[in-house]
Amino acid sequence: MSIITKSFIRRADRDDLDTLIRWMEDEDFQYFLYGDPTRSPRTIREQIIGFLSKNTGSPIPSGVYFIVDSPDGPLGMISLQNISWRNRSCNLDVYIAPEHRNHLTTGINVLRALEYAFDELNLHRVTSIIYAFNKPSWKLLEFIGAQRELTLKDHITRDGVWHDVYVYGLLKHEFDVWCEKNTEHTREITLQKMIENIKNYLEKSS
């Protein structure tokens, strides 16, 4: 049985600025991602504008920032950052707004972002840095076939407690094997299928 979803990913643009600022001010964003709670709103705004300005349509971008969108509005963001064209690698970060957080939406769109990284950008490796207490995130990556490569002991503090940080790595051939195994379930959620659905929607609405 294949999975069906109305969510899709698209390139973030300037119109997403307010949404992104709202998300970055979310406590979870700072708790689970690399946020520094002491940052001022101005700093946050500047950082996001920096993200968006890097997010050009360049064939060799230094980062790609996706909005996870839906007919009901944006759900979250996925970024492929620190793209190294020499090493054909990047870092993956994912944020889904609290009201839309579920494994299915996250999983489907992470798969699409990975498909974009490996099959469109021709990357060889995707790295993800995840705090040990963020179990749903590292479980998802393990499900997709990523390997926990580093365990950085007592590497960050949250609420006065030291936590480990995990570094996951996923290589292209590992992702290909996973996709091959799961074709039956994922055929309706591939990037190609998503683009076809968007085209159909645009044709109908015009």
Partner: protein, 179 residues
């Protein structure tokens, strides 16, 4: 200038740039000289001279000389994160020095650890190591560094993929202290 039994350790100066450039030109690259994207940097001599001229850099780059005054390598303490109290060390020594003048590197490491753990009260020191750095790995292991894992196929150089290990050592004094 700090005089040890085998080593003389001093802050790097712009005149040391030529020696430092030698390490940047080394193939395959030294793991600790890779940037945040794990890409090898290719500075030229004038860029390194400028780097070492900078006061902050000069204070974190140390030249390690033997008693005859010959430069044997560099040791660097950088990337200090004051929030979580960790720093990165760079050990830049040729394999030959590990083989023939190991005691000199030990003194340099002892110096940098004292600086990090005692003077700066850091909790953790980290460094990276490529599989080709066959002398660095056992050296770290012999000095109580623990391997925190290995990133696979993270660097492409010399026509092939390379894995990158991360090694760390905790300050035994501060490891049990609360945050």
């Amino acid at each position: 200038m700090i005089k040890k039994k085998y080593a003389i350790i001093r802050n790097a100066e712009r005149f040391d740039a030529k020696e430092l450039l030698r390490f940047y030109l080394h193939k395959p690259a030294f793991a600790c000289l890779l940037d945040t994207k794990r890409e090898p940097l290719l500075p030229n001599l004038s860029e390194l001279e400028e780097l070492l001229q900078h006061k902050d850099t000069a204070q974190s780059f140390y030249v390690v000389e033997n008693k005859a005054g010959d430069i044997r390598g560099f040791i660097v303490l950088k990337g200090i994160n004051p929030e979580v109290l960790f720093g990165e060390i760079m050990l830049l020594f040729d394999n030959e020095i590990y083989e023939k003048e190991n005691a000199l590197i030990e003194e340099a490491l002892e110096f940098i650890e004292t600086r990090a753990f005692v003077q700066l009260h850091l909790r953790k020191l980290m460094t990276t190591c490529l599989e080709e750095e066959q002398y660095l790995r056992p050296f770290l292991q012999n000095h109580s560094y623990q391997c925190e894992g290995c990133m696979r196929e993270v660097l492409f150089t010399c026509g092939k993929w390379h894995n990158l290990e991360t090694w760390a050592k905790f300050n035994v004094v501060s490891v049990n202290l609360p945050v």
